[in-house]
Symmetry: none
Subunit: 237 residues, 2 copies
């Protein structure tokens, strides 16, 4: 969830923004002074900061400069001042955007989305951990105890499909459709060949698979280390 920090000294502005953002599914915090704002950015690590220029105590521009000393969080400035000089000052201090009051709430929300979008890509780090190997979906590779395992395109595609639904049952039809296309729904032969291949490369004992599980008559399942099984206990004999 995207976290937004709203900084303004006028309570009704803060209230309006916080309400609108919360309705849109953002997680919102607020601050009413510059000092508090800097503190909250440090503590809360928001994904986007909305800051008013006319703050009591330390000025909005000083807040921007302070934050920019150690963070690159996107900052959107709100201000009643429309003078070009003010905009240039704020932007050059490190702000990402400058919106003049009065503003439309939809416009501001769109600018928040634009700012949040820029930081989004860093968030995703997907790795599926099985008993004897790790599937890194982002880097598109698999590692086991002896290092990186080389997979062919089709092998990877099958494993990737299982990994994206880890611990869930994936039917043969799903797999065949995903990897070979809708025309191959019935070619269960392919699955047998490639599951065997994957087990040979990834399972310590391919004849007794621990992670690449067959669900007879239905499909296959990739069991993760924590995911699949009930918490405590005895391994099934």
């Amino acid at each position: 969830m995207t976290r937004v920090l709203v900084v303004d000294d006028e309570p009704q502005i803060v209230r309006a923004l916080v309400t609108n953002l919360r309705v849109r599914g953002y997680e919102v915090a607020s601050a009413s002074t510059g000092e508090e704002a800097v503190e909250r950015v440090a503590r809360g690590r928001p994904d986007v900061v909305i800051v008013d220029l006319g703050l009591p105590g330390i000025d909005g521009v000083e807040v921007i400069e302070a934050v920019r000393g150690w963070s690159s969080v996107p900052i959107i400035v709100l201000s009643v001042r429309d003078a070009e000089r003010d905009k240039v000052r704020a932007l050059d201090a490190g702000a990402d955007d400058y919106v003049t009051k009065p503003f439309g709430i939809e416009e501001l929300l769109a600018r928040v989305r634009a700012a949040a979008r820029r930081v989004a890509p860093a968030a995703e780090a997907a790795a599926v951990v099985a008993a004897d190997f790790v599937v890194d979906l982002a880097a598109r590779h698999v590692r086991n105890a002896s290092g990186e395992v080389r997979l062919t395109p089709t092998e990877w595609h099958v494993l990737e499909t299982l990994a994206r639904h880890h611990d869930k049952l994936v039917t043969q039809r799903q797999l065949l459709q995903q990897v070979w296309g809708p025309a191959y729904e019935t070619e269960t032969n392919y699955l047998r060949v490639y599951m065997a291949q994957l087990r040979r490369k990834l399972e310590p004992d391919p004849s007794r698979p621990r992670s690449l599980i067959t669900e007879p008559g239905i499909g296959y399942r990739l069991r993760t280390r924590e995911g699949g099984q009930p918490t405590s206990g005895g391994p099934p004999a």
Copy 2:
């Protein structure tokens, strides 16, 4: 040097912007139609794009959508339209900023600086260290044991793309889109030629590459010295 692409169909606007930007030390290119704009983004690799909404032929928003399909270059929209709906549309299509005409040139320049600043950190983040050479993304050059290696523009562009996703697999499509543009998605010939060229210049034994790895049927990967250990970044605590 920061490279800016200006897209507008009114010659006097283009001229004014180009002049102002050049005086400030930017390297500026321009386009007057949407098609030309997309082409120039693909070829010229600008650091910032300034685009007018009211273009003949394909619309400004469509240009944004097309570019966003394969590039994350900052886009600043210019428009005479001040309606909130237009702003939201452009921003949600992928624009980073929206400036209403008439605008102050100083404000626009400040917004260009703000946009350019955001891409800078990624570039200065640095140097990708492979087994036998070092790719310095900021300085735009490559060094191996015998010193600096001369690369042609296209060679560099390919290597740069791999380096920006080091240890991750980059698909053939991604590479072709980044380097040659969206229209060249299927020209895998180019990749073979240029990967061979890069290996000849950078690998100690080009026939047995250690860093520029082929993933058959999928794409290529630049392997760094440490390997793919997740070095996920976070700001200092």
